[in-house]
């Protein structure tokens, strides 16, 4: 499978440049019998927004969870700012400037808005092990205002908020974290059109500032073309395409996916035929 010729521009090992903030080479990860990542290589330039596309189960979330330190790869290597990068925990990755907004948002229903925003990066009183609730509330308010999300109260449990509001809190948490590499796994999933536009606007603003580099998993091609500099497509655990968004189109991306479905169907039929014979 791995040496099979796939459509589009195949980039097995990315041509990496000096200004790459993150480089991932030959990453592989299995969960028991399931191969989530076969051989993934990608790179991220400073200030770039990289869109990551791929079918359900293609390995996008696994890739993100490996980069952010939540789980460890079976093989392959990562480099951060040109140095070997082997995060042992989410906290360590965060300390190195890599933060993530998970697809499931990683929010705690019982905790309030500001407690969630500061979970694992709590602000404490000077010289006391006590939480500085006032400061956290104020900073949370500031971060949410920056995104343009207006919540009347920050001390209510997040269980009572709408899907879009929860998503906004998760995104605000990631953006506020001062990371220089931000991984966003489906940041628009639970959002209405208006809230989604707000998040895309925020990403555009971050891109303009140029301080932060972003890898963003999306499923809407229009969003990818609109907000990303470059697009990578994962097919079956490998990067099957790597192109600047300016050089691709909805039609091309669609064609790749249609082609992939055709192959999968043919493979299944061949298997069935083999089983019969």
């Amino acid at each position: 499978m791995a040496d099979q010729v796939l459509p589009g521009e195949i980039v097995v090992a990315p041509t990496s440049a000096d200004d790459d903030v993150l480089r991932v080479e030959h990453l592989a990860k299995r969960f028991g019998p399931v191969t989530a990542l076969r051989d993934v290589s990608l790179h991220l330039k400073k200030g770039e927004v990289l869109g990551l596309l791929g079918d359900n189960g293609a390995g996008k979330s696994t890739l993100v969870k490996t980069i952010c330190g939540f789980q460890k790869q079976d093989s392959g290597q990562m480099w951060l700012h040109g140095e070997a990068y082997e995060p042992k925990s989410v906290e360590q990755a965060r300390a190195l400037g890599v933060d993530v907004v998970y697809q499931d948002l990683a929010l705690i229903d019982e905790l309030s808005v500001y407690q969630n925003m500061f979970l694992c990066r709590e602000e404490r009183m000077p010289r006391l092990p006590l939480l500085d609730r006032r400061r956290m509330k104020r900073d949370a308010r500031e971060a949410l205002n920056e995104i343009g999300i207006n919540l009347p109260r920050l001390d209510v449990p997040v269980a009572r908020l709408s899907g879009g509001q929860r998503q906004a809190i998760a995104v605000a948490r990631g953006v506020y974290s001062q990371a220089d590499i931000l991984l966003l796994d489906e940041p628009l999933a639970a959002m209405g059109a208006k809230e989604g536009a707000m998040i895309l606007e925020l990403i555009a603003r971050l891109k303009q500032e140029g301080k932060i580099s972003i890898i963003m998993i999306l499923h809407n091609y229009v969003h990818v073309l609109e907000s990303c500099d470059r697009v990578n497509m994962i097919v079956d655990g490998v990067i099957a395409m790597d192109k600047p968004t300016a050089e691709t189109s909805v039609e091309e991306l669609t064609a790749i996916v249609v082609d992939e479905y055709r192959r999968a169907r043919e493979a299944a039929q061949a298997e069935e035929a083999a089983a019969r014979a």
Partner: protein, 362 residues
């Protein structure tokens, strides 16, 4: 985790427009709001029920509020409050510790043996508590690292410790070192400062209970530790994704719970001057502690709870026992009333929880 003051404002606002014309109803509504807010506090319902119980016993039993009886009451609830406070931390964490019964039984025996080895009281009690902490560490590692359900883990350690206590003590009652003993030559009863501090003094257990509950309530609501405990109990996966060290949090809470159980074992043995290796009594102590935590408003499901509530829950159970004893109610009825009280308290908690979510009181 209960609502903060600023929530009144947003809820009172709708009435604000016609304040002048409808002054009285508005004040009434405000008062009702306060009552509702108090009732929907996690500790609110049990506080009301406890006060009602105190009033009932106070009116029907003239001796109930006498100093002598209040001192008796302390022996019913203070130590239970400490046990329940530790258990609350684990229950919020989404775990349970049944081994506190075993630790409670085992700790004074450890103390006895260490003192018997010629070590002074203070280092002995420290060694005892460290042993208990290690038991908690084992519970924590077996549960959080090896993945055994905490109910099963601690059921195992409960029986193990109770068995060890019986084996080591030969199931014989022992005199607690440092407690009030009658001097064989002079015939006078002697009790040192150590004994007074560690359980034998009249208010010793109360002071321990208040200090521990206040500290643990602050830890729960104002520190990173507490926040992470709630996070793990509410959603383990999300907590791990956010970077919470789930295993460490669980292990730490097991260690605290176990240490407190050991302390209570020492305090109670000191108070009663004897070490009684009776697993039956220890199991009932364990169940009382869980009952106090649950009645106090802590959910078994994890993610929410209150240490102060556990102390009030313990006070409620203590008052029930004490009051019924003075009333001369047959001891056989005690468990019956206790069971009914737990069921009613849980029904109220479920109802209050629903109301809290609906009314928007954090």
């Amino acid at each position: 985790m209960t609502g903060t003051a600023d929530s009144d404002v947003s809820e009172a606002e709708p009435a604000g427009g016609s304040a002048q014309t409808r002054g009285a109803p508005r004040a009434l509504a405000g008062a009702w709001l306060l009552v509702k807010r108090f009732l929907t506090m996690r500790e609110g319902s049990i506080t009301i029920v406890t006060i009602a119980l105190a009033i009932y016993f106070g009116l029907s039993l003239p001796v109930f509020f006498s100093v002598a009886n209040l001192q008796t009451l302390l022996t019913y609830f203070a130590w239970l409050g400490i046990l329940a406070a530790g258990e609350v931390f684990l229950m919020i964490n989404g775990e349970i510790d049944l081994s506190i019964g075993g630790v409670y039984l085992f700790a004074p025996l450890v103390f006895y043996e260490v003192v018997g080895g010629g070590i002074p009281f203070v280092p002995s009690v420290i060694i005892t508590l460290i042993v208990c902490m290690v038991i908690g560490l084992v519970n924590g590692i077996v549960t959080a690292v090896l993945g055994v359900n905490s109910f099963i883990t601690t059921l195992g350690t409960l029986f193990t410790l109770e068995g060890m206590t019986l084996i080591i003590s030969h199931a014989e009652q022992l005199i607690m070192p440092g407690s009030a003993n009658t001097n064989t030559t002079t015939g006078a009863t002697e009790l040192g400062t150590f004994g007074n501090i560690f359980g034998a003094g009249t208010y010793s257990e109360l002071v321990w209970a208040l200090v521990i509950v206040v500290i643990l309530q602050i830890v729960l609501t104002r520190t990173r530790w507490g926040l992470h405990t709630i996070a793990v109990g509410s959603n383990k996966v999300a907590a791990a994704e956010a970077g919470v060290k789930v295993r460490l949090v669980v292990i730490r809470n097991f260690m605290v719970c176990s240490t407190l159980a050991g302390l209570v074992g020492v305090l109670e043995a000191m108070r009663s001057s004897s070490i009684t290796p009776d697993p039956g009594a220890a199991n009932s102590v364990l169940l009382d502690a869980i009952a106090a935590a649950v009645i106090g408003g802590t959910l078994l499901a994890g993610g929410s709870g209150t240490v102060v509530g556990a102390l009030i829950g313990a006070l409620f159970l203590g008052m029930l026992q004490d009051g019924l004893a003075i009333k001369g109610v047959n001891a056989d009825y005690l468990d019956f009333y206790l069971g009914i009280a737990i069921l009613i308290a849980m029904l109220i908690n479920v109802y209050v929880g629903r109301t809290r979510r609906r009314s928007g009181v954090g």
